[in-house]
């Protein structure tokens, strides 16, 4: 187990600046999730940590040692790939034991370790199968097995669940969490799915086009997003944003609605800003009028997309609301659960 310190990391692909001044310190045993939209540089960062991609600038330390120029085999990391990357010509057992065979561990020791990992992952019946004979979920577990038999310093996961169907994804999520609680190995997990990030992470690193947008515990990101990007990315359904100005100590939106400000917002009268309201914190019975466009009941909740001065506004109620398209709802929100951002920079005010 080890710490991972990412300091001022830069990556250029030719002239393309893929990563810009990345700084993340990961504690021993921590489960950190890198999350961000597709193409923001998550995989690139992970591959640089793994040693599969060269580091253009900055310093990478694993367990305190600078590893910028070490090949993957000397970094003592294990990686699980999105497409599993199993060796097609080896059985499940051989796949899992490959790293140990490469480092010439005794055969009986390899066998014991592979069997132990197989038991943890429920693969003990499949050790003699070839990857082609496995289902997607089983292959994913073999890829994880290959990582855990090594007992590495750090686990790296690159979107390991993206190729699985929704149900399997949920159960594998739990399995990976459980595995981490059991092994306590430092883990860096990449995903584009904010839900996965929220549920699995000790700490989340939100990335956006090659820069780190915010780092924090899942609930901190949810409660106090540092900017509109994080506010819009974390949380589902996404936060409602409105542009407007501060007038008479309230936020006056361009769409005509008016909202009370959170007490800690540092704003001045007349300042132009962006106001954010999470759909789940919208309450029925306020003084903002919204015209229902669609109602989506799920049984336990009701999601309503409404029209507010020509803009869509999403509400999520924890109860059943019998609203018809065309009806007008009166809504409001607890001001302490709303967010104010600078309209130019998008930074939290």
């Amino acid at each position: 187990m080890a710490t991972v310190e990412i300091t001022n990391i830069e990556k250029y692909y030719g002239g393309y600046h893929a990563l810009n001044d990345i700084n993340v310190d990961i504690a021993d045993g921590e489960f950190v999730v890198l999350v961000g939209p597709s193409g923001c540089g998550k995989s690139t960062l992970l591959q640089m940590i793994a040693g599969l991609e060269t580091i253009t600038g900055g310093e990478l330390r694993i367990g305190g040692d600078v590893v910028n120029y070490l090949p993957p085999k000397q970094r003592d990391i294990a990686m699980v790939f999105q497409n599993y990357a199993l060796y097609p010509h080896m059985t499940v057992g051989q796949n899992m034991g490959f790293s140990l065979r490469i480092r010439r561990d005794p055969a009986d020791e390899i066998k014991a370790k592979v069997e132990r990992a197989a038991k943890i992952l429920n693969l003990d019946q499949l050790l003699d199968r070839f990857p082609r004979e496995l289902s997607g979920g089983q292959r994913q577990r073999v890829a994880m097995g290959r990582a855990i038999v090594r007992e590495p310093q750090v686990f790296l996961f690159d979107e390991p669940l993206s190729n699985l169907d929704a149900k399997l994804r949920l159960s594998m999520r739990t399995e990976i969490k459980e595995l981490h609680q059991r092994l306590k190995t430092t883990t860096i997990y990449v995903t584009h799915d904010q839900d996965e990030a929220m549920t699995m992470a000790d700490r989340i690193v939100v990335m956006n086009t090659g820069v780190v947008s915010q780092i924090g515990a899942p609930l901190d990101l949810y409660d106090r997003p540092a900017n509109t990007f994080v506010a819009g990315f974390i949380g589902s359904p996404a936060m409602n944003f409105m542009d407007g100005t501060i007038q008479g100590g309230k936020f006056q939106a361009a769409n005509g609605s008016s909202w009370a400000l959170p007490s800690d917002a540092k704003v001045t009268e007349g300042q132009r800003c962006t106001f954010g309201v999470r759909p789940e914190f919208v309450e029925a019975g306020g003084d903002v009028a919204a015209k229902v466009i669609v109602t989506e009941p799920t049984g336990s909740e009701t999601q309503i997309v409404a029209d507010m001065g020509g803009e869509h506004f999403t509400c999520l109620f924890n109860e059943r609301i019998a609203a018809q398209p065309g009806d007008t709802l009166k809504i409001g929100a607890d001001p302490e659960k709303c967010h104010v951002f600078d309209i130019e920079t998008g930074l939290r005010l």
């Binding site: 085999k73 497409n83 990357a85 060796y87 490959f98």
Partner: protein, 303 residues
């Protein structure tokens, strides 16, 4: 009704010209050769005037020491060139499978020998092997060594070297193509698993390329059994019978010894040998496809 039948026949109508050409260009001469191999046949005779001798040509050949020697030379030649070419071609491909500047030019240079006409290759090497004015001996003498009697004492070795020069590129390009279509992620996984360069080659690259390598090897073997022009130009089979490969002996039997029937029988022996290799190749392919299909079926059953 009528239309439906016409539709069903359409593909055969399109195939017919090709089929006719096949029959004329391939089956007719083949049949002619098989027919001729059972006859005592002098080139001055029309085949209808020849005498039927049954398996005599085949039996004579079987006990003919010159034929056996020639068969031995062919086997020696084919096996050694293919073995060396496989090792060199695969080795070069592994070495040059990387993205550095100028690599594409280098790769193109490597495949040039394959594009030169065999007769030209033969002439070129014959000149280079010349005992006094040849490139090799002049070089050896210039650094103070004795010249080597390339096409005399070491004739078989010399033609083997020339063939290796010409055909290693064939294996090189096929292997390179196979290498570049390997699943990159499996190689990345191997790096992460701690495999060094050699270990990646030995445990991942070679096993994954094996189907391509086997087919390449068989193709090359089939071709090596039929080689003629280069050796004809370089040594004409000599000295003695030392480089007289089967193709050459067949042509000499037909033209010099004027025994068309025996030549035909000899061709059939060679044909059988090649057929065996071809069948082996097809069988290998079949087994591969069947195994893949079985594995797919096994997976589908579970899903």
């Amino acid at each position: 009704m009528k239309l439906a039948r016409a539709n069903r026949l359409t593909p055969y109508v399109f195939m017919a010209p090709a089929a006719v050409i096949m029959v004329i260009a391939l089956l007719y001469p083949l049949g002619y050769m098989v027919y001729g191999s059972f006859r005592a046949w002098d080139p001055s005779q029309n085949i209808s005037e020849t005498e039927f001798v049954g398996l005599k040509n085949y039996i004579t050949l079987w006990f003919d020491p010159s034929f056996r020697e020639s068969l031995g030379v062919t086997l020696k030649f084919a096996i050694s060139v293919v073995a060396v070419e496989m090792v060199l071609g695969v080795g070069l491909a592994l070495l040059l499978d990387r993205n550095i500047r100028g690599m594409s030019i280098l790769r193109t240079l490597f495949i040039l020998p394959m594009m030169i006409a065999p007769v030209v290759v033969g002439l070129m090497w014959r000149y280079m092997y010349h005992p006094t004015v040849g490139t090799f001996n002049r070089f050896l003498k210039s650094i103070g060594l004795d010249g080597v009697d390339w096409l005399g004492q070491h004739a078989l070795l010399s033609v083997i070297i020339a063939d290796i020069w010409q055909w290693t590129p064939f294996i090189f390009i096929l292997t390179l193509a196979a290498l570049q279509s390997l699943p990159q992620s499996a190689l990345e996984a191997a790096k992460i698993d701690g495999a060094g360069g050699w270990q990646q080659i030995w445990h991942i690259k070679l096993p994954l390329m094996m189907p391509v390598l086997i087919v390449t090897c068989l193709l090359r073997l089939i071709d090596a059994f039929k080689v003629l022009e280069v050796i004809l130009v370089m040594t004409e089979g000599g000295p003695g019978l030392s480089t007289e490969i089967l193709a050459l002996r067949i042509s000499r039997t037909a033209t010099e010894f004027r025994e068309l029937g025996v030549a035909a029988a000899m061709s059939n022996y060679l044909l059988m040998l090649l057929l065996l290799l071809t069948v082996a190749m097809f069988a290998f392919n079949k087994i591969q496809t069947a195994r893949a299909a079985r594995l797919r079926a096994a997976v589908q059953e579970e899903d």
